[in-house]
């Protein structure tokens, strides 16, 4: 019981310390930006879900949209 209570207190404190969600930013700011001066993209080789490896060099000749995401 004590442990549960302590855990609850810790959780409450942790939640209270989270910053409030930022106000919605100006939508005009959320746009793709030209990258200048343009630089070669760092090479990468990552496993795909089917076990094959996706390499930037194999995609030469194609425009590639890379997006990073996560389960935040």
């Amino acid at each position: 019981m004590r442990t549960a209570l302590a855990l609850l207190l810790v959780l409450t404190a942790a939640l209270a310390s989270l910053p409030a969600r930022a106000a919605d930013p100006d939508p005009a700011r959320i746009r793709m930006q030209r990258y200048e001066p343009a630089k070669p993209a760092p090479a990468f080789a990552l496993p795909r879900l089917d076990g094959k490896v996706v390499r930037l060099e194999d995609l030469k000749g194609k425009v590639v949209l890379v997006f990073f995401w996560a389960t935040w």
């Binding site: 590639v64 949209l65 890379v66």
Partner: protein, 102 residues
């Protein structure tokens, strides 16, 4: 998504989740684009798209970020989000893709 497919651009989603997690996510959501796992956190720092947060149980995870690389391997357009809840409008991304030669 059909508009992206029509451009013949390669769409690649990268996250620091394990490949098995991504596999389940793809099946659940019936995704049609390629997902790849940077579980070892090799690509994220190279693209300046990694958050290192000692207070987070995940510790090192991806920022929401978009990069458009042209056919010669040159980065043409970027957007790295401060807030992962923000999303780009698909039209904006399509326009940048077209201008990059897609």
């Amino acid at each position: 998504m059909p508009q992206f497919e029509a451009l013949n651009a390669q769409v690649l989603g990268v996250s620091a989740d394990h490949a098995a997690t991504l596999d389940a996510f793809t099946k659940q959501n019936k995704l049609r684009y390629t997902l790849a796992s940077d579980f070892r956190r090799q690509m994220l720092p190279a693209y300046d798209a990694m958050v290192t947060n000692e207070q987070s149980p995940i510790f090192r995870y991806a920022k929401r970020a978009y990069f458009i690389i042209d056919g010669k391997g040159v980065v043409r357009w970027i957007k790295i989000m401060d807030n992962p809840l923000d999303l780009l409008k698909p039209d904006d991304v399509l326009k940048a893709l077209k201008e990059s030669g897609a």
